[in-house]
Symmetry: C2
Amino acid sequence: MITDAYAVRTGIGPRPLAGGRVPRPVIEVIERDDGLINGAPADHYLGEPSEWQPHDHRALRLCRGQVLDLGCGGGRVAVELQRRRIAVTGLDTSPGALAVARRRGLRDTVLATVDEFGRRAATRYDTFLLLGNNLGLFEGADRAPVLLAALASLANPGARIVAQGTDPYGTTDPVHLSYHARNRARGRLGGQLRLRLRYRLLATDWFDYLVCSPAELETLLTGTPWRLKSIDDADHPYYLAVMELNP
Amino acid sequence: MITDAYAVRTGIGPRPLAGGRVPRPVIEVIERDDGLINGAPADHYLGEPSEWQPHDHRALRLCRGQVLDLGCGGGRVAVELQRRRIAVTGLDTSPGALAVARRRGLRDTVLATVDEFGRRAATRYDTFLLLGNNLGLFEGADRAPVLLAALASLANPGARIVAQGTDPYGTTDPVHLSYHARNRARGRLGGQLRLRLRYRLLATDWFDYLVCSPAELETLLTGTPWRLKSIDDADHPYYLAVMELNP
């Protein structure tokens, strides 16, 4: 999908056509386990800094030292960090997305899950960056401590996590409100989405993706090596959370 | 979906937000029975004439007398015909789409299938208009004669069908080529798509939608009250077919 979106954006590589001659935007299809389906243009995964949301720019100013960009995709953020001469590694599980990131000039890419990389990496990092709503990679109360332990194993002393999340609880949409209630009735966090992504003939497995409030995030950190340092919610409901490694 | 697309385009009515504050385009999700999934912006259903493809403009010049716009949706074409003082009825099976068409000023709308309307209508028509790829409503070899008989029952002497189709056989995409082959192995036309449409929690039933070549179209007309009068394929692979009632 990222390969196709890159082709549409830049003209590099074959562009997908839907039947006819008129080019169509590349659309990511997001299915939720209550049957809700949404399509979203994939082009935003490749947005230039001039197209970014304001909180993305503020997030870059929160980076310190050696940066690991988790779920770097096509390198939207990592390429800009590198341009600013900040040392950055892009981590993703998608070979296609990493190929696009490398084509855009990203030098240091790793094809692995965080857990795999945590077991084998020799490098240690000062900043773990989870932008594009990638606080969602915390998944939920079961997974978050495991992910946070993997990040701690990759961390230099004094390391931080800079993650962008969205507070899901301002909505009045009954579809979302009933989904939150259903989740809670099952012992899950309200915004613990169960999703799969589809593009043409491809589909991911179903996975959890966490949309949580800052208060829920703080609770998830209890008992982990990390503590909440600050929340920037100037673009509410979007926010930037900075977490720091306990000394 | 048309209601939401209209709200995004005009600001009239609540706009759907996906979780956050940034408005998203309204996307129609199209599933094919081989697992192919595509998303397409729904806004094109509401395009103003300045945004149309050239063949849509040529189609309007092929209209004569009293026009029935089949699958008129939000009234994209019918509203423009009415503005040109051409008598037009908009037919659709979607109450929401017809509500948008009426809000945009379309005066004569009918909520029915073609078959229902063919059994009960007192009016007779001179032109049946199937734009936006709605030659697809012919469905396939079983359904086409039934639809064509229903249109004949609604027709004045000398009536015509003006339909926009797409020739599917110019593609080199292996996904589509193998779909065509699979269809033919099952005794279906190569481009006889089996689809369902999804939007948020809504899903249509699975239905056939025909994408055929002009030669296939001519074969489908054999033994019906209609004959092929002309093909305008200046915008190949898109084409406009004019069919006329046999005298």
